[in-house]
């Protein structure tokens, strides 16, 4: 389930990155790296588990599925937080800088 959620996140962020120049300027590439990297790594985990347990891999217990879903959503949240931090640090459009300078000018 974690793999599935991460792959969906990777595909969605790729489509957004591909279709919008504004999104590319906003460093959405960072999300692509994280989601695709993690998807490939969890794919290996999934293949190893499938080789060990066979078709049982596709019938997880409800509790495990719920926990994996919770983990998948948390992974997306973490990746988004990392992306926002990168965005604010790099400040590609200068929005943060101008907001701070505006406040500084108003306070004078």
């Amino acid at each position: 389930m974690t793999l599935l959620i991460t792959v969906i996140a990777a595909v969605v962020s790729t489509v957004i990155w591909y279709s919008s120049e504004k999104a590319r300027k906003l460093k959405t590439g960072v999300l692509l790296y994280m989601f695709w990297g993690a998807s490939l790594m969890w794919l290996v985990d999934a293949v190893v588990e499938y080789l060990e347990s066979g078709a049982e891999y596709f019938q997880p217990a409800a509790a495990d599925m719920l926990n994996d879903t919770f983990l998948g959503l948390s992974v997306i949240a973490l990746a988004l937080v990392v992306w926002v931090i990168v965005l604010l640090v790099k400040d590609p459009t200068g929005a943060l800088k101008s907001a701070i300078l505006d406040k500084k000018a108003k306070s004078k």
């Binding site: 974690t2 991460t6 590439g29 960072v30 692509l32 790296y33 994280m34 989601f35 695709w36 990297g37 993690a38 998807s39 490939l40 790594m41 969890w42 794919l43 290996v44 985990d45 190893v48 983990l71 948390s74 992974v75 973490l78 990746a79 990392v82």
Partner: protein, 130 residues
């Protein structure tokens, strides 16, 4: 158990290589004056996938209680039998993860090289007809 350590180690190595290559290539580009997608730029894609992927996998290991914020950081390191299993998993799953990410990156590099080559050809054709 700790499979993410293998791609994370590869990420450290490729990041160092990328930094060295970037310095060398920027000096070369200044000399030649031409702008192109350098090897260092392409290595950034690999670094991103390796760092991003192993970072999210590290979070998963924290989630499952396999990584702790205190010494020895890996719960499997407390027991020799678990340590052996962890090392086996690093050698198999960890290496496979690092190899798969690198193979996918190599595919991306081949595709980008083909796109650059076809663009150069069309530019030459346009120059010849003008």
């Amino acid at each position: 158990m700790a499979c993410f350590i293998v791609p994370a180690t590869e990420a450290i190595v490729t990041t160092v290589i990328q930094k060295v290559a970037a310095k060398k290539e920027s000096a070369d580009n200044k000399k030649s004056g031409e702008l192109k997608l350098s090897f260092a730029d392409k290595l950034k894609w690999l670094n991103g996938m390796l760092w991003g992927g192993s970072g999210l996998l590290a979070f998963e290991h924290v989630w499952h209680g396999e990584v702790t914020p205190f010494f020895p950081f890996l719960t499997a390191a407390n027991d020799p039998a678990d340590t052996a299993e962890m090392l086996h998993e690093m050698a198999t799953s960890g290496s496979a993860m690092a190899i798969l990410v690198t193979v996918v990156w190599a595919g991306l590099v081949i595709v980008s090289n083909k796109i650059t080559a076809s663009d150069n050809k069309s530019e030459k054709k346009a120059g010849a007809t003008a």
